[in-house]
């Protein structure tokens, strides 16, 4: 159980000329809960499969506690995987499934039963030893898969969308459980997911991936609050992206002023020294709607287009005068939202919430398409949206 330090050095994977993973370098500390987040096709699963040993890297190194294991067979690496499909052996009982790997780890026979019992207790499945996988629910199968991997006390546990096939409520419950379990066993977790909520709530640090590269690496707070570019901003939760032009400043001093359509806005976050065309982002929860008569800095006129009631919050879709569409998030305080479709309003975009991001050279719509990944809808039915 000791160790668990992982270092990827310009790791690359090419399939028949298509580059799936494009030279990523990451250092994961021992005992860390680290997530790879991105839409399907971004290279996150390929990266995990290379660490597990199912794919040989085309280039680069995989250092596990200082040893390059890039070309080792899977069974020689002290890492274990929890598969998205669980891959429990249907012809073995739960206990036999969990005991499967111990045969290869020179665990004395007398110790095996107690280790199995211990692992099943850890995932709260004591008493299910004699069942077969097909007699268990999806959530229980997922726990067996976890126990089967943890019983071997690997230095790194790899998890490939382990909650992907479960329904939303169970997924939330298991997110909390899995995080607690990781802290308890102290094993390094490398977690792959396309669900930004999962990555934000569970990870110590995460890497947002796009086109086989790491778009941003940091703590959940850093990545959410200070996205490095428009892609990360849009992928992590709903983000309002607008095209903008930085107004020239004579002496390089003074506030950063942006031209958005016919309006001039002041921005205090992000890349304030940028010039020319930029993207500007603001989180829906930072937008305030005010009566049309209100005035002030960064208040621009708009019209309510649609209200979507989400229970704890209401999403309000607003169209600004120059055509940009924004979403505002209003918390449900027990009173009705004082706006309806067609109400003219003033949209308050606080300067400290307006983030200037480098222009990737593509339109806002193209970024949005990209964050949805290769397949717009996942088999699990999770739509990357509200957070």
């Amino acid at each position: 159980m000791s160790g668990g330090h992982v270092k990827l050095e310009s790791l690359t994977k090419r399939f028949d000329g298509v580059t799936a993973v494009d030279g990523i370098s990451v250092e994961i500390q021992a005992g860390e809960f680290f997530s790879l987040l991105g839409p399907s096709g971004c290279g996150k699963t390929t990266t995990l499969r290379m660490v597990a040993g199912f794919e040989p890297p085309s280039d680069g190194k995989i250092l596990l506690d200082g040893t390059d294991v890039g070309n080792w067979a899977p069974h020689r690496r002290n890492v274990n995987t929890v598969f998205q499909s669980y891959a429990l052996f249907p012809f073995l009982t739960v206990a036999e499934n969990v005991a499967f790997g111990m045969k290869y780890r020179s665990v004395p026979k007398s110790e095996r039963d107690s280790r199995v019992a211990e692992a099943l207790a850890l995932v709260q499945l004591s008493g299910y030893e004699k069942r077969r996988p097909n007699q268990l629910s999806g959530g229980q199968q997922q726990r067996v898969a976890l126990a089967r991997a943890l019983v071997l006390r690997p230095s790194v546990l790899l998890l490939d969308e382990p909650l992907g096939a479960l329904d939303a409520k169970l997924r939330r419950a298991l997110q909390v459980e899995l995080t607690a379990l990781q802290k308890q066993v102290g094993i390094t977790f490398l977690y792959v997911t396309h669900d930004q909520e999962e990555a934000l709530t569970m990870s110590d640090r995460l890497a947002v991936m796009n086109h086989g590269r790491i778009a941003q690496l940091g703590t959940p707070e850093e990545v959410y609050n200070e996205p490095a570019d428009a892609y990360v901003a849009d992928f992590l939760g709903v983000s309002n992206l607008m095209d903008a032009q930085v107004e020239p400043r004579g002496n390089g001093q003074g506030p950063c002023r942006l031209r958005v359509g016919d309006f001039t806005l002041e921005a205090q976050a992000g890349q304030l020294d940028a010039t020319g065309a930029v993207k500007v982002a603001i989180r829906p929860e930072r937008i305030h709607l005010r009566p049309y008569e209100a005035g002030g800095v960064n208040c621009v006129p708009g019209m309510v287009e649609r209200l979507v009631f989400l229970g704890s919050t209401t999403h309000i879709y607003v169209r600004l005068a120059h055509g940009a569409a924004l979403q505002a998030l209003v918390r449900n305080e027990g009173t009705a939202v004082p706006y309806s479709q067609g109400t003219p309003v003033k949209v308050d975009l606080p300067a400290d919430a307006l983030r200037v991001l480098p222009d990737p050279g593509v339109s806002v719509a193209e970024i949005r398409d990209e964050t949805l990944g290769d397949q717009p809808l996942d088999v699990t039915g999770t739509v990357p949206a509200s957070s």
């Binding site: 899977p74 052996f89 012809f91």
Partner: protein, 312 residues
Amino acid sequence: MASAVDESVTTSPPSRTDLAGRGRPRGNPWRRPWAMEGFTWLYIVWSIVPIAIAVLFSFNKGASQATWQGFSTKWYVGNQVTSVLHNPSLHQAVIQTLVLAVLTTLICVPIGVGFAIGIDRWRTRTSNGLNIVMIFSFVIPELLLAVALFLLVTQALTFIKLGTPAEVAGLVVWNISWPAIIVRARLVSIGRSYEEAACDLGASRLGAIRRVLLPLLMPAIFASAVLVFASTVDDFVIVEQLSSTANTQPMSVLIYSNVHAGLSGPALNALATIMLLLSLLAALIGFVGYRWMSRGERTKSTAEALTGIAGI
């Protein structure tokens, strides 16, 4: 079985007003499909009646194959000279058929399984080509193969003697696509994740095949063994070419040559009935065995078990 389903559906026909404005109503669309049902029964009768009559006359008291003279099992055991039990050429044929079926199954299935795993799991250009070769035995005429094999063992590979060795060799070649194709279909449907999981937990490549892949393939291996067995019992063209003496003639060849020589009689019907029973028994064992082996999986319906056996 089917009618119960039909009736439950017909209890709620749509009212005519629902169909208003969509052209002339043409009666109840959920009515019983009499024409199709009738045709199906006609087909079943057409295919079963001749076999039933042949089986029936194997129990005839007299020597006629056309006039029923009362029930008897004399053509199986009773008659001291011509019954299957007492006529050495007849029971030798039964034994030869069983020997060929068992030997062919034992040799053919392991080779075919290895072939399937090789083609599917170690994918290269060669394996893609071999995959097409596997379908050959479905398209080339059996007679062509039989004659070619005859020339091969009499002219070139003379160490393979005509008779049982040549017959088994021919049957293995002819039947190897059953295990190869059925097992491969199952390999495709179970995917690679189980093997990857086994390797991940510490098993070597071969260990994963032995401990995980083979148990998962068991239903398919068993189903293909049953098919090879049944298909060998039925085979005529290859064994006819490659048999040598009367001792190496299986049932099918014996029946054919006797009928041709005008030596037919109820004892041959009895022999044919035994052949039919062997095939039916193999199919039944296959069906029950497949369901039992895949009991832990989602495959539950009869239709799925049947398609599993047929390797589709």
